[in-house]
């Protein structure tokens, strides 16, 4: 790891009090992002990846609380900031892009005003200045005729255009970090590709770091340098995208890779991961993946394996990760 860290999430735990019992959607997550880096966070639905993203900016639903851990950004722990001080970070230094560009835009507010609002509030620009900036941003994200479309409402835009608006909003105050919550899931594949290219290009130009939550592995491969795989509220594997995708060291990662279609091997049949994600109220003892794991041994059920660092940036929570590597070896 070179240079100072920009964002460091350590041992974050979140609890939700439900009538069924205490749910722990995030159970000891640690993550780090260096300036200019793009980190992907992948996992299936309910693995806690979106929750992790929201807890960074303190946007958890009211019934969820951070019970321990810290989110240190530029030397301050965001989980301990007051609402008003947190508002100086939100949008200004860390921005967020949401999954559904339709519902994440205010339906009764003009698109331009929504983009201009951030700069007005955070940078103290006048109405005219912020308007000029919004038009400039709309041009940068590739919205044609920005001067005219400034006055349009979100429903007059197509899905891809709305996501461009969301990107313009995220970039409006030149943040240091952008958190993306499955920003292209709601878009069709060609638009998805354009939006991802745009996002990567704009972040690269301004040196903005990205944290990218998705369940779509090829998207991670396209956008991110590093990736962390989440399962049942924990990170089970971490490393550079190249490493993790070619040499997965956790059976869950292997399962994810095998269950997604591969353009290079179109005839290959897909292998689903057996079973379903565990209950977060009473997770299985030991390794949380063991009931679904084909390599599971008795020791997997007995002890709860921590995320162990390996060489370089790699880390895995699997006790028998060599078997994944063996499996890759025998397959190819």
């Amino acid at each position: 790891m070179s240079g100072p860290l920009q964002l460091e999430v350590s041992d974050l735990r979140v609890e939700i009090d439900s009538h069924m019992g205490v749910v722990r959607p995030i159970d000891g997550v640690s993550l780090e992002i260096a300036p200019g880096e793009a980190v992907g966070l992948v996992g299936e639905s309910g693995s806690g990846k979106s929750m992790t993203l929201k807890s960074i900016l303190g946007l958890l639903p009211p019934d969820a609380t951070v019970t321990s851990g810290s989110v240190v950004f530029d030397g301050t722990d965001l989980t301990r900031l007051s609402q008003s001080r947190l508002n100086k970070v939100r949008g200004r230094r860390i921005a967020m892009i949401f999954q559904e560009p339709m519902s994440a835009l205010n339906p009764v507010m003009r698109v331009g005003s929504q983009i201009a609002e951030g700069p007005r509030v955070h940078l103290g620009l006048s109405r005219a200045e912020s308007m000029k900036r919004a038009v400039e941003l709309m041009r940068r994200v590739g919205i044609p005729e920005p001067e005219r479309r400034y006055r349009a409402f979100p429903h007059e835009f197509s899905g891809g255009m709305r996501q461009r608006v969301m990107i313009a909003m995220a970039l409006s105050c030149e943040p240091e970090l952008i958190l993306c919550d499955e920003p292209t899931t709601a878009l069709d594949v060609t638009i998805q590709d354009q939006i991802l290219r745009l996002l990567v290009q704009l972040c690269h130009e301004s040196g903005t770091s990205l944290m990218f939550v998705t369940h779509d592995l090829p998207v991670v491969a396209q956008v991110c340098h590093k990736v962390a795989v989440m399962y049942a509220g924990r990170i089970v594997e971490r490393g550079t995208v190249q490493e993790v995708f070619t040499r997965p060291m956790h059976p869950y990662t292997l399962g994810l890779l095998r269950s997604a279609p591969d353009v290079d091997h179109p005839g290959q049949s897909l292998e689903p991961i057996p079973g379903s994600p565990p209950s977060l109220i009473s997770p299985p003892s030991g390794c949380r993946f063991h009931p679904r794991c084909k390599f599971a041994e008795d020791d997997c059920k007995a002890s709860d394996p921590p995320l162990r660092p390996l060489e370089g940036d790699r880390a895995t929570a699997c006790l028998h990760y060599e078997r994944c590597l063996d499996q890759i070896g025998t397959d190819s």
């Binding site: 946007l59 947190l86 994440a104 594949v189 779509d216 998207v219 997604a260």
Partner: protein
């Protein structure tokens, strides 16, 4: 979701929407606006009423307050009095028109204050929830425990008769409806993702309420305000009828009804005509409220 293969010939832009949707949208909304028969009938009716009341000097040459003790209780058309005169010989037609001015003005002002107060308190309760919501909702519970008229009449009685007391009493009682509507709407709307997006953008709670939530939910309160004006007119007329509202000699429909009821068998129009005025005004405002509700409902879908 399959792999985002770099499409060999990716289109330059994701289907740019047709060139002038903004204009088209406004035009269709306008087209719907005057095709709403209920709304149009109500508006025309109200326009006629407002014109007659505020154009009173054009429609009558009599002063509503001038007494003529030589011509008391004149019949319809007698001595040039279109609708006759009352006990003091004042022209009923003139009093009807000028009285309408007073009642309409009070009703409109009396609907604005509770609207503002209720919307503010309701949005705070809905957005913040927790103890803010608990306190505001308990106050609302206390207010709605009493029937509207009982509380308004009691308050005006305590504050003393007059226009100012009517405003205070109606505001103190009427805000609860707006607060409940706004609270309910905001409780739902605050779960929308655009609110989360606004929060992630570092906007203050007040800005999110004022700029993002209220514009989305205010229509319900506006529709309700139309039917609330009807209730306010009734309240004002009732208070005046009971002698707690507009004080003589200022003309007003309520005092006219109460003054005329002694002569109901002989001069029935002294009571019936102002009563009809109340009914027609109420009808006009109800039609506007209904039409507006229909319009906004179809507009929303």
């Amino acid at each position: 979701m399959s792999a985002p293969t770099p499409a060999p010939a990716a289109p330059a832009d994701p289907a740019p929407p047709p060139p002038a949707p903004a204009v088209a949208r406004v035009r269709s909304r306008r087209a719907r606006w005057y095709r709403q028969p209920t709304l149009m009938v109500g508006l025309v009716l109200l326009a006629i009423i407002v014109f007659m009341c505020y154009g009173a000097p054009l429609l009558t040459s009599f002063n509503p307050d001038t007494q003529n003790l030589l011509e008391p209780l004149a019949g319809i058309g007698q001595y040039g009095h279109l609708l006759g005169t009352d006990q003091e010989g004042r022209d009923t037609w003139a009093r009807l028109l000028y009285g309408g001015q007073v009642d309409l003005r009070i009703a409109i002002i009396a609907v604005i204050f509770p609207f503002i107060l209720g919307t503010i308190l309701g949005s705070l309760a809905g957005y913040f929830g927790g103890w803010v919501d608990a306190i505001i909702m308990r106050i609302i519970d206390i207010v709605v425990a009493f029937p509207f008229f009982v509380l308004v009449i009691a308050l005006v009685f305590v504050l003393g008769a007059g226009e100012k007391s009517i405003y205070i009493a109606i505001t103190a009682v009427g805000w609860v409806s707006y607060a409940r509507i706004t609270r309910g709407e905001i409780t739902v709307a605050k779960r929308q993702e655009y609110v989360l997006a606004a929060q992630s953008g570092g906007l203050s709670s007040l800005r999110i309420i004022g700029r993002h939530l209220l514009p989305n939910v205010i229509t319900q309160s506006i529709v309700y305000a139309m039917s609330d004006i009807v209730q306010d007119i009734l309240a004002i007329v009732t208070l005046s009828y009971l002698g707690l509202g507009v004080q003589p000699p200022t003309p007003d429909w309520g005092t006219m009804i109460s003054a005329g009821q002694n002569f109901l068998t002989t001069q029935w129009w002294l009571t019936t005509i102002p009563g009809l005025a109340v009914v027609i005004t109420g009808l006009a405002l109800s039609l506007i409220g209904d039409g507006l509700a229909d319009l906004l409902r179809t507009g929303a879908s």
